[in-house]
């Protein structure tokens, strides 16, 4: 992580891509996820919808926020944040889902 900063090229400035094209793709993805949602609530649909959400988010991050052209240590910052959430989820989920409960409903 430390080395990458120094090795970054001086000319940062990200290329500007065709933002309207990205927007159109995002829109199509939105419509696809809505259609998938209308089919029903099966396992497949849920996975599809969330995969599409992740793809959409990655596109925004990569092209609108220009993470594609940022130094690697910023990727690490975002990546480690997501990794921490993953740790949190894995550590907590057994206690929420695998316990004998006496809940109100």
């Amino acid at each position: 992580m430390q080395e990458t900063i120094e090795q970054q090229p001086v000319a940062n400035y990200h290329r500007h891509v065709n933002y309207i094209k990205i927007w159109a793709i995002l829109l199509v993805l939105l419509i696809v996820s809505l259609i998938v949602g209308m089919i029903g609530y099966q396992f497949f649909a849920v996975w599809m919808i969330f995969t599409i959400a992740v793809v959409k988010a990655l596109m925004v991050v990569a092209y609108y926020m220009h993470l594609l052209w940022e130094p690697k240590f910023l990727w690490l910052a975002v990546g480690f944040a997501v990794l921490c959430l993953f740790f949190l989820f894995l550590g907590v989920v057994p206690d929420i889902l695998l316990v004998k409960l006496q809940l109100a409903h």
Partner: protein, 235 residues
């Protein structure tokens, strides 16, 4: 270790010996580290004409002086982990076959204990409910179902080496087996409000005979009521 309360449970010995293991191994490491630290600070005091050595500790030849102790620490860690794991599984990993079943309900600021009785089923006629007194027979596997009504509480029996938090909304199952008859303190080890300090109960471990006698005495009114019912019903 005269301050440690006497152990009266079957698994308490395992915890005590784990404590001893850690004390001996880790204590020895601590002692060595402290001695080296203090000795170094004294021996290498500033002296005229004796400059410090230029040691960076970047090459393996120098680093081994810390890496060898670290490897020893790693080995001790593994050893402690292994023993910890077996002890933990013994105590919290599951429950043995029940000789007695008891429901423990913790609330501000007392415990109520419901002993399942001879049939081993809770919520039947031969249940005995007591407040702040837990009666169990000696040498019996007692399975408890721990519940909390309002706040977090923690069932804490030092003599049994037993501690388990009680949470509202879930039933936590655990067990113990007391080996010596007598009276022992039960406390609440989790802050549960203003009266936390006064939340105290007693564990009474009976010999088998005296437990049967106590049970019979407690059940006497219930038994007579059932008998009366029975005689009343048959014309």
């Amino acid at each position: 270790m005269k301050f440690l309360p006497e152990n009266v449970s079957t698994y308490g010995g395992a915890i005590d010996s784990l404590g001893l293991l850690i004390t001996v191994t880790v204590g020895a490491c601590l002692l060595i580290a402290e001695v080296v630290l203090i000795a170094a600070a004294i021996v290498y005091r500033q002296r005229e004409g004796k400059p410090a050595s230029y040691i960076q500790g970047e090459c393996w030849k120098q680093l081994k002086w810390i890496m060898i102790p670290v490897i020893i620490v790693v080995l001790l860690d593994c050893f402690i982990d292994a023993k910890t794991h077996t002890t933990w599984v013994l105590i919290k990993g599951g429950t043995p076959k029940a000789d007695q079943t008891v429901r423990i309900v913790a609330q501000q600021y007392y415990y109520s204990f419901t002993l399942a009785g001879a049939d081993g089923e809770l919520d039947t006629a031969d249940d005995i409910t007591t407040i702040n007194e837990l009666h169990v027979p000696v040498d019996a596997n007692v399975i408890f179902e721990l519940e909390a009504k309002d706040m977090l509480h923690s069932l804490w029996v030092p003599a049994l080496r037993l501690k388990q938090d009680a949470l509202p909304g879930r039933t936590i199952t655990g067990w113990f087996n007391a080996t010596t008859p007598g009276e022992y303190e039960i406390a609440c080890a989790e802050l549960c409000g203003v009266g936390h300090s006064a939340m105290r109960a007693t564990l009474l471990v009976h010999t088998t005979d005296s437990f049967d006698r106590w049970q019979a005495e407690e059940l006497a009114p219930v038994t007579s009521a059932i008998e009366q019912n029975a005689t009343g019903a048959t014309p």
